[in-house]
């Protein structure tokens, strides 16, 4: 591998979360974006060709090295790594609403789910998956929530655009409330 690919590999190794293309570019002032992208491609190829236990993955608007799926069981059984705890149905539904309607207030989430979401919202915030992103109009100027890069990373998504589009879902429904339509 060329030196830039080596530097990128070392950097991706040292990072604890996905690294954006611009952060990778900043590692070496003499390299252009195109060169960085070519080196990333070389790295990806090298892992595939030589047969490695890790692979280069594009996630959360960045790049990350992850172990290959087939080794997960053995590593988890050896207690070298804990798998993240699975999310509850309540947490998943709340995340789904926030992902599609962000920025969205608690009242609207509760209206859709039909239950109080205070506890689940707090725990999603504690886990860093959602965060308050501003305040809404109206009474009490409610906090509005949105998803974080950690949310994308948890799901292995490249960006919010890779979420399935609503019209692709099997349940047909008119689009979310028209702007200006009153809250009930």
């Amino acid at each position: 591998m060329n030196r830039l690919a080596q530097l990128l590999e070392a950097a991706l190794f040292s990072a604890d979360s996905p690294v954006s293309l611009s952060a990778l570019e900043a590692l070496d002032r003499d390299s252009t974006r195109a060169e960085v992208q070519a080196a990333l491609e070389e790295l990806r190829e090298e892992y595939l060709q030589s047969g490695h236990g890790v692979e280069l993955v594009e996630v959360a608007d960045g790049y990350q090295l992850l172990t290959r799926r087939e080794f997960a069981e053995a590593i988890a059984q050896a207690h070298l790594v804990t798998r993240p705890r699975r999310l509850s149905a309540a947490a998943l539904e709340t995340l789904a609403i926030i992902a599609y309607r962000q920025p969205v207030g608690r009242a609207e989430i509760e209206e859709i789910r039909g239950v109080s979401v205070e506890g689940v919202l707090r725990s999603l915030q504690d886990r860093g998956l959602v965060d308050s992103v501003g305040r809404g109009e109206g009474m009490g100027r409610p906090l509005l929530y949105g998803t974080t890069p950690a949310f994308l990373e948890l799901l292995g998504l490249r960006s919010l655009e890779t979420l399935p589009r609503l019209e692709e879902l099997s349940v047909a429904l008119r689009s979310p409330r028209e702007p200006g339509e009153p809250f009930e």
Partner: protein, 244 residues
Amino acid sequence: MSVSIAVENERPFVVELDTFSGPLDLLLHLIREQEIDITDIPIARVADQFLEAIGSLDLNEAANYLEMAAWLLRIKIQLLLPRPFDEDRWEDPRAELVRRLLEYEQIREVASWLEGQADLRSSQFPRGWMEEQPEQEAPPIVVQLDDILEAVQRVLEAIPQPVLHRVVPRPLDVEGATSRIVAFLEEKGHFELTDVLDSEPTVADVLSVLVALLELARIGRIRLSQQQPFGKVAIAGESTSTTS
């Protein structure tokens, strides 16, 4: 908690209440289970089934469901009222319910997609070891009590049988530990953690005593304090305490 729902001319079906994330989830389940046309819900029947299902919930758990029950009953009554002669002007009182159900069903579909993605991703691990980086503070560590308790469980499961090579009487369980602590309380008023334990406690003993203490502290029977790191844990009856 499961409830058996009676269905006319058919076998009753069982509803596991704990598995529902809310009233819409339960309602949707009743509708889908009986293959009801969602645009033409037999409200009277479904409302009865809904009430039957939540009947066994205690008031605390039922709070989220009661609003839905009230709504269903309101729609049921509205449907009994005479319709205007001009059918076109009649608004189906079920329309809003149908909209909410479909909206929720869509969210649930997204939720299950998210779950699948999270499962896929959780079988790939990022780098574990973080090298010390000069000129930079080490990132903070997160540990949660749950993580420790899960770890304790794994440790207990992994201990080969027989456990440590010691001759120990039957391990202390939480009830045993609780009554031992309560006895101490009545006798002394305040004492130390080590008083409650035998001289060579097992992991299970320590855990039992600890849980008993935490539970007693939680319900306000006792107060725990530790004067210094690694210091002894002092236990006092809550009535004798003067500070908080």
